[in-house]
Symmetry: D2
Subunit: 400 residues, 4 copies
């Protein structure tokens, strides 16, 4: 790499599932891409000193701190990577932006529209001084998803008619699975809706280039009381004795939607789809073709081209591993597939590329607010007998 | 077969797509199953004499008539098989039942709840004299669907949490596809909702044993004006000059649902899912397992059993071609798959078996009314901004 | 149908698995295709009078006889359909041809090259008097297979490099499965090789248009002694007490091959592939594309077109159910799949079409002899430590 | 990690495709596994100084050298990782072992049986002083492959009857693809046989626990002359002008095999399977079940269990991403799949685990010699008209 490249010293808040995934990506990104900026894994931050110290060593960070307020004011940190539960996103991200640090914030952007609006305001203000912000909707960076967007953007699907999106998991099917933070409204904001529904909302708006304009929603909590947790790792966890507590979030969220290009959609986010482990499924049907995707086979995209001769039409399983597929220049020969962690490697590539060249990375906080507005509309619709609920454009909000 | 078996002389009304499929099934059913009644392809009925005469010869019916009113009073006919568009179902079926003929009526039962209620009343009255009636939801007779029901009924899925149903076709994606009767409300009652949505409503209620209790619906007509048709065959058709007419039915119908066992569901019926030809897709997730089905691979059922050791769990692709699978005793060695037409062969097997033994076949007209009530609720919800709309139990209606 | 059409009165020998499949096809073929000849199910023939009488009634034949020699001389029979085990093919077919009857003979044509040569000689002699003969390699009539051939013939695959063929079944994995006639050399000629290997030899020569010129073979009998059988139906059977007998055929036959267009191939036929029920699998790789097929999903063809843009290449799952796909004009709307039995319906369509127009149907007995020569070479190679064994062209044989 | 852990300083020879993959794995392995030894990326070695210097920076090695002879005698290097073409494996590995360095050598172990024997001798001698050696058959470390072995080893498949293995690629289908080193016998030893055939030989012997005892082989070079190369990266390359040279290796190698537990097998390695990018396919059929694997979906294993009730049997698609699946403790929540590079991460985990605890890692050089003996037999059989060729046990060789 060039000696002229900028070094960006990263301070990451959080060291659990997302912290581990981001660390692997920070460690890898500049090894495989030539970029105008080089990340340095400077400081990791967490509240429990012994755990964060251990994480620093294991994940390869140069230093650690237990105080995120100290972190964001350090002179030797340029970027704050927010990997905490949603309840602290707004406070940390806003403070970091005000301290002049570029911010990469995990999704969902916030636990409420109000918080998200405040974050957008802070991001816009910071932007004036060249401070960048981005929300980490990593599934946009799946090569097959990026290819889906390219196909739709270039008109290969014609007029988009249908969106069919589901994010299916099953890790809390067992009623004895404990009450981890993701099942508590005060920490997580919502349940399946914000944790995984947010992804398919962003992903479908991203690939279609259309905005969801209204929804009819329904949410359900199948298991209303769960044992209190003891330990957790990744999405796994174990219970601690017989004490229980109330589940305060949705186990599943379903909604119908209309998009501003005339398409209609069904959306479903659930953690009760037994046997579906991480099935992020999106199908888009247009007047000239269709695409279909399932993250459990993340290196594949199904593409139907209705313009080829009728007897040869069918869904083509594109193995998205060619060097001229999106993000693939970095990787292995065709057919040597890549894994989940590189959605983050690609996200950081785009982040470093933008920050290094002085551009605004996407998805912006405004994009993320748009997702938040949809989630908010789904929640309100569900509370009002599924009544149709409009979703305002975030840009108009911002302009107002 | 025994000489003691009863002969049932069939009069079929209609000779288009359904008429051809039913003819193939009537011709086959007694060749492959031992049954207490034997069907005789006696009379076929249609309005156009030259066409119905040609159909009689080609499809193998002994006689034909152009008058269904004459047909239902003939002494040499025991069963009336109604294969006409929905607008004539009620009139023909009720008259036939009153004339003491057993009735097999294609789905949807009727074009409105009112008609369906009248048909149920006639069926109940006729039942007292041993006259049988049945509605032809043939997808119940896919062996994989019947196996799905067995698995759920026997508790292998535990508590059912999710239903995910879609019936996807693409035969009218082209805006130049003509305005066939299936696109006219006065003939067809509704569009995708009644034609194909009816199937997934019935199918999911059948396999789960649960009733849909409320819905939030949305319908859309993407192409609002189409050329007038000249000729049609199966679902194919050609246009006739430049005259056009308005499409008066839905191109797509989507709805969310709750079922009376606590499950929630997403439903979608569309003729605009480019590349999906006859994708009747149903997935059911329960606390102990899941099943998934796609009619385009009708000989396969995916079954996930969450009670086997964790490292061996996965969706099992059951090839539903073993001789002890439902309906398979009649067919070929394992792996020698069967086709669409045998959903009708199986339907007739069950019909002949019931009529031959003096029992009531299912689905009954009451079952079909239940489907009609759901469709009606979807339509009303869609007209009222997707407001939640309750669905009453048909049995209560009937009793009242 | 036209009143001018020719009636062909069929006499079928055999009433087991193949007899039932052929009956279903004879009953159906003229109902769905317009053809220059019309089949009449005249006489069925079998040695056991009570069984053949029962079969005649159940399968719908007008008369029966227990003597095939009587059958072939009847004036009221025009076509002899030979559905017996291989040991009687030569005798029946030759006699029938000499009696001036058209012959459709099940595969493999014979139990030895010598018999097959004699049958070819008889067919050539009969042909001079307008008597037609055909061997029933029904898998050629799978629409997806016919499409495969079209694609290769029209150059879409470029130069064919690889053939990868396997016919996998598992119905005799259990060592207690009885010693049915298919496991006895004197009845069946060979085991997996002739029963199912014959199909993939014919199928690959058919779709590639190339002839196998040499082989290196290996055969194996895993279970050498089995209980004697009592009853059998389809491929299922039950054992009768504790008496056993020796298995005198191969359980599996594997071979490498070279084809006369420069391709190389692997072939495998086995009845010990646990879990594979009727997996007739063929993949062909050419310089410009590939095709892949598995009979367990007989309505699908995978097609890879290496001439489309690189980022969009992939295997396209063609659902071979469009009305302009081979044989599909007769059937249902797209996506409404067909089953195994219609490979026979299509076979009879081609047979009736050829005989009705005075043409020679294919595959001819010469084509079938070519398959026999390959099987013979495999057997001899296997006996000689897999030494390379040339396969002569049958046409040269015939000419000589 | 413990302060007691041993540091192993690695010197890697080669910096192309394998060098990049190994670097990513060395960088990752201790971040995700707790191991008794910790790798340090000390020195990278390559002949071209500017290229190796650039590789050192990009891939993250502390130092570089252009002389492997210097490398293997450095005091600050403990492990030599041989990632060069096969023609230098023997010389480097033997010298390194003699210099007391642990050796990890890429596959195939050598370009001839003679070289492999010499390497085995050196490995056995070095072993006496606690110096370890291992051959890098990374596909053993695919979690689904390791699970396949566990299932077979624990008897879930019963008696193994069939092995069906193919390694299919298509990167040299274009006759204009240049004459890279992998197409030159003096560099690569052989073509598809050694490069990819070696993998399926090792993999099938590994999962079945059976040794190949004899083969009948066939090789083919479809394109005999190619343009000379200019640049290469991964498996991609570009040509340089119009000069051409002869292809001196096989484009495809096919063979039949017998294994010492009674199984028979078909094997195929080719770079001409258009559309197949890295399809390492293995299916094993046993008397009680089957397994099937395709590397293009490396996170999945198909498992058929013939001992469950017949109506529920089928191939189960196990998503091998559970934390108690082999190697998976390190990775992400279920359904968040991993990629190709982690076959190397897992390989290094096993290597570091063995060296750190003073044990011999596997596959040993003896295991790799066994693979070499099979390849040699295939080559000799192919040269002798596919005559059956026995394969001796490497252990006997070693003992002798």
């Amino acid at each position: 790499m060039s000696t002229m490249e900028k070094e960006l010293r990263v301070g990451m808040v959080g060291y659990a599932f997302m912290g581990a995934a981001h660390s692997q990506a920070w460690r890898t990104v500049n090894r495989v891409y030539d970029l105008p900026a080089r990340a340095r894994m400077s400081v990791i931050c967490g509240r429990d000193e012994s755990k964060v110290a251990e994480a620093a060593t294991r994940l390869g960070w140069e230093a650690y701190t237990t105080d995120w307020r100290e972190l964001i004011t350090r002179d030797d940190v340029d970027v704050i990577d927010v990997c905490t539960p949603g309840d602290s996103h707004a406070e940390i991200a806003i403070a970091a932006l005000e301290a002049g640090k570029h911010v990469l914030c995990e999704k969902p952007l916030a636990n409420s529209v109000e918080e998200a609006r405040a974050m957008v305001a802070a991001a816009i203000q910071a932007q004036a001084s060249g401070v960048r912000s981005m929300c980490g909707f990593n599934y946009r960076r799946v090569p097959a998803v990026a290819l889906m967007r390219q196909l739709i953007e270039s008109g290969r699907l014609g007029v988009v008619r249908h969106v069919r999106a589901a994010y299916l998991q099953d890790w809390i099917v067992d009623p004895q699975f404990p009450l981890v933070w993701r099942l508590q409204r005060d920490k997580a904001g919502s349940g399946a809706l914000g944790d995984i529904g947010a992804h398919i909302i962003d992903l479908t708006q991203f690939v279609t280039g259309q905005r969801i304009t209204g929804v009819s929603g329904l949410t359900e909590t199948f298991v209303k009381e769960r044992p209190l947790p003891s330990a957790a790792a990744g999405l796994a966890a174990s219970a601690d004795g017989s004490a229980t507590g109330p589940v305060t979030v949705d186990d599943a969220a379903l909604f119908l939607a209309r998009l501003d290009g005339g398409a209609v959609g069904t959306y479903e986010a659930t953690r009760f789809a037994t046997g579906r482990k991480n099935a992020v499924r999106v199908e888009v049907n247009g007047s000239l073709g269709s695409v279909a995707f399932d993250f459990e086979r993340m290196n594949e995209l199904e593409f139907y081209d209705a313009t080829v001769p009728g007897t040869e039409q069918g869904f083509t399983r594109i193995l998205v591993t060619e060097s001229d597929h999106p993000y693939l220049s970095a990787w292995w020969p065709p057919g040597h597939i890549i894994g989940y962690e590189h959605t983050f490697t690609h996200e950081l590539r785009d982040f470093l590329d933008a920050v290094g060249t002085g551009a605004d990375p996407t998805p912006s906080f405004v994009d993320a607010l748009q997702v938040q507005l949809v989630m908010d509309a789904v929640t309100r619709s569900a509370e009002q007998d599924s009544a149709w609920t409009e979703v305002a454009p975030a840009l108009a909000e911002v302009a107002a």
